[in-house]
């Protein structure tokens, strides 16, 4: 179970998160939605301890993330797969190397690494890509490799940071299908950060709308679609003319 409890974060004088409070239910996909710069990605980075809060806390499985020591943080990160907005693939490694690195750091043997790499590449429909370098892949393929890298670890939680940003509509739909398939096959709790309405409605069990550093509304896809909140309505309206 992941909980944000009064999380606040500012960069310089600019507040990004102010009293963010939200509980993420187990086994579901929760979409964090909001305008660009509303602090969605910042909230996600607090879950894996990439950022430290100015106030409040993130609690994962009853552990306060920013209070964990080095080994505790490592143990927590082993439960989490993180798909970065830019895919963040290591340029110097092949696709197989990118996927295998996290498995190697968890102590898997070479045959196990090869097997899991092949399985996760099959899941993202890139079975022949293991020997290729990230520079040889398209943007959509890189994002799928990013997903493969995360799911190869078989994590309890998968965090997606803007998984469809910069993708064309066809590739966006393929990415949505991939997220649904990954959840179905792994049963992992997923958090998807996005401002892409179509994608949010396709993958979410619940949507939390973030506005000015706080949760403005939380509900099912239907509840958000038919929201009475003027800020949410304006966001949905401006994205769905």
């Amino acid at each position: 179970m992941i909980r944000f409890e009064g999380l606040a974060k500012r960069f310089g004088t600019k507040p990004v998160l102010a009293d963010l409070t939200l509980a993420i239910p187990e086994g579901q996909t929760t979409v964090l939605m909001g305008h660009s710069g509303s602090g969605k990605s910042v909230a996600l980075k607090h879950i894996v301890g990439l950022l430290e809060p100015d106030a409040g806390q993130v609690v994962v499985d009853e552990m306060v993330v920013h209070e964990l020591d080095y080994e505790g943080l490592k143990a927590l990160r082993r439960q989490i797969g993180y798909v970065f907005q830019s895919a963040a693939l290591f340029d110097s490694l092949t696709v197989g190397g990118n996927i295998g690195l996290g498995l190697w750091s968890r102590g898997f043997s070479s045959p196990e690494i090869a097997q899991r790499t092949a399985e996760s590449l099959r899941l993202v429909e890139l079975p022949e890509a293991a020997a290729r370098y990230p520079a040889e892949l398209s943007g959509g393929m890189r994002k799928r490799v990013g997903v493969a890298r995360a799911i190869a670890l078989r994590p309890r939680y998968i965090l997606y940071d803007e998984p469809t940003a910069g993708l064309d509509p066809v590739t966006t739909t393929a990415m949505d299908d991939l997220m649904l398939r990954a959840r179905r096959e792994s049963g992992a709790t997923s958090i998807v950060v996005t401002h892409d309405l179509r994608s949010a409605f396709a993958v979410a069990d619940r949507i939390a709308f973030l506005y000015q550093g706080r949760i403005r509304q939380i509900g099912t896809v239907d509840e958000i679609r038919h929201s009475d909140d003027p800020v949410v309505r304006e966001f949905i309206g401006e994205r769905n003319p």
Binding site: L50, Y82, Q85, A88, D91
Partner: protein, 257 residues
Amino acid sequence: MSVAAPATRSGERSRLHEFLVTGGRWVLDARRALADGATWRPQLFPQMRRLGVDSVPVALFLAVFTGIVLALLSSYMFTRAIPLYFVGTLVTKAVMLELGPVLTGMALAGRVGANVAAELGTMRVTEQVDALETLTVSPHAYLVTPRVIAATLMFPVVTAMAMAVGVLAGWFTAVNILDLSSAEFLRGAQQFFKFKDVWFGLVKSASFGLVVATMGCFQGLHATGGAEGVGRAATRAVVLGCQAILVLDAFWALVLL
């Protein structure tokens, strides 16, 4: 002014505090990373090749011209005042003690410092460093430690080659342009030679490698703000690396000579 002064002092205190906190974290991370040999050992030889072997041409180019100019300048200074075989003394001493290590260090600070800062800076701003952390691979063990060890080991090797080539270039110039015989040049070179001259230069260059790579890694991992930030990090790594070399050069002269 009376209003601004406390604010400035508070800003300086906060910067000092941040510097101490960051420095402390780096020391802790470095200790953990050194113990994590399984992560950094496979990266060590590729880095030794990239940072050391690939830097040899630049260092030798510099050494050749340093040797030539030293021989010509010393002959110009010594004419009618000091026996010309002292050209061999000056070339050997200057190359071994100072110019070999320092000029090679400066050249490698440009090449290695900028290379490391730009590579790690790009990894930082494209979230590759964050990705390493989420995969529970320590960036210090995977990125910093092999580069720092490789530079510390390879700077003396490259410097030793530069010393040899610098002295040979001085000898070649003395014999072919200054009409000095090989025996005279050798006599000058041997007259005040001490083995300490060699290891003093090599110890210095190892320390230069350590600071240049550390500076490059530090600046790279703290890069912010996209391509412009990576450029700034690379520039700072080179400038601070060169400054550190000059400070260390004076330090070793005080301590070891």
